[in-house]
Amino acid sequence: MDRLRLTQPVADKIRAYHLAPSKKKEALSFAHGTGYFTDNGDLVVVVADPADVLLLAPDCYINQGYAHLSVPSDVRSGVVWQGIQKGWPILVSIDIHDHAPFADKAHYSDTDNQDDIRTAIQYRNNLSGYLKEGQSLYAVSVLLGRRQWAARRVVWDGESGLPRFKHLAVDILGENFERHGLSAVLSEPWAVRQRGLISPAQSSAISSMRLVIVGGGGTGSVAVEVAARLGFRCIDIIDHDRIETSNLNRFHGASLSDVGKGKAAFLAERAAGLFADGVFRAIATDAFSDAATNALTASDIILGCVDNAETRWYLNRLAVQYAIAYFDCGNLIEVEPDVVLHSRVSVVIPGLTPCGHCSDIEFFPRKIPQAFVDVQTLNAQRAAGYVQDQPADLPAPAIYPLNLQTVSWLMNELLNWICGRSFAHSVYHRSDRNLIERLDSTNYRVGPAEDCSVCSTLLGSCQRNSLPRRGGVVELIDSTPALEIIPHG
């Protein structure tokens, strides 16, 4: 499914212009989006910066009325030309208009149909000749009703060459997640007990979203089952490890007979056994492989259930760069001098909350991990004494109840975000102080830092910037294929 993803500031700017209460006329605006294609051919368009939304002054219109508007064609050409100068590999020129004065919903009219097709022809025949080398241009048309968004683009039928419309879901990464463009579905019989908490529209959004769970261990194994039982039907699980006997005190769903199986494959197969209408994929690598990165960049939500700072550093970077919501959890058990259980959830909504680099809550070390430093620099650092190789840590204590607690908080915050309730940017608990610290919009109104090296330079840039690569070699644990698609049933 093609998607148009907007950050909260972008959506606010568009709404303020098109849906102002006093507005009595239709209006037109434009936006420049950066696009990329996912591993299954979907087009994802991201608009992250409000500066990429271009509003029209009243004198730009030839005619602006209650149910019609017209604007000189050179306005569109100028907008596209301005976008071309940015040099983005995939430039998406978005025109946005509303039927807001009189319509709650977003239904395209015949006038809209003719204009969108004419625009597509113009782009293909005229403006594509002005593109820079390696650049491509797409057009998306967005329509706002007072309560609904719609987006579509023209594609050309391969056989007949005739134009047809392909709709995009419109995702808004706001205080609450919005997905427009889907039909609401009635709850399945298995979900009747959650009807009051999750509306039909939210159920539809959940089942349509692509969720990637990074880490299939103690917390990840719980998260997979919780996600499936909440209604997620497209889940990728990334973990390169195998089930060991020592995992069985906390690995959800596994028994002695499962020792030796790949964790990701086991969890995907288990989820498929629970809900045969889903697609559950196992990616038996770490989070940095091409297969994992493709899955991550194609996702709508990333759940981090890992036990290392390196992966969190990478997921935070990827999430902000591709404007994907990132929910992370972690726990820690101290046994000396006393037993203390720590449990933590961190939420990054790109463009809305601080990321892991600029948040007051540091849930991973901000310094670039050694694994991402190139070999020459790393050797130079070692020679200068900046890096000392540490002995491998002993396995940390871990117990099932703590994992259940941590993941339950993680999934509750995810549900809060999707279902219109206040979500937390951070939740933290330590057992020896009877303290639960929950930071949400009521007590922590902090957005991305203006001087954050990640948020201010990479937000929504997608493929315009390359992702960090590991300086070393990533090895698969065996020769089985990295990607397994678990069949239904």
């Binding site: 037109l28 050179d74 569109r76 025949n125 005229n126």
Partner: protein
């Protein structure tokens, strides 16, 4: 019988429709009176150039390729 000399014609494309105009044609001769500006690609400058109505007395650029049909959007009442 007089014939038009093809070397004295200029190629133009307006709204995707190709046409030929006399070499001496001005921009005002090939666009409708209500058009306020046209955008054409200036080969010398290497970029799109907006030519306002005040310059429509100038000659039609060779290979002029422009869109004149306005952007039109409309809702559905009722």
């Amino acid at each position: 019988m007089a014939k038009l000399n093809p070397q004295k014609l200029k190629q133009v494309t307006i709204d995707g429709v190709a046409a030929q105009v006399p070499e001496s044609a001005r921009i005002a001769d090939v666009v409708a009176p209500e058009v306020s500006a046209v955008e054409v690609f200036n080969d010398n400058l290497g970029k799109l150039e907006l030519i306002p109505r005040g310059r429509f007395h100038e000659g039609v650029p060779q290979g002029m390729n422009t869109q004149l049909t306005p952007i039109a959007k409309g809702g559905v009442l009722g």
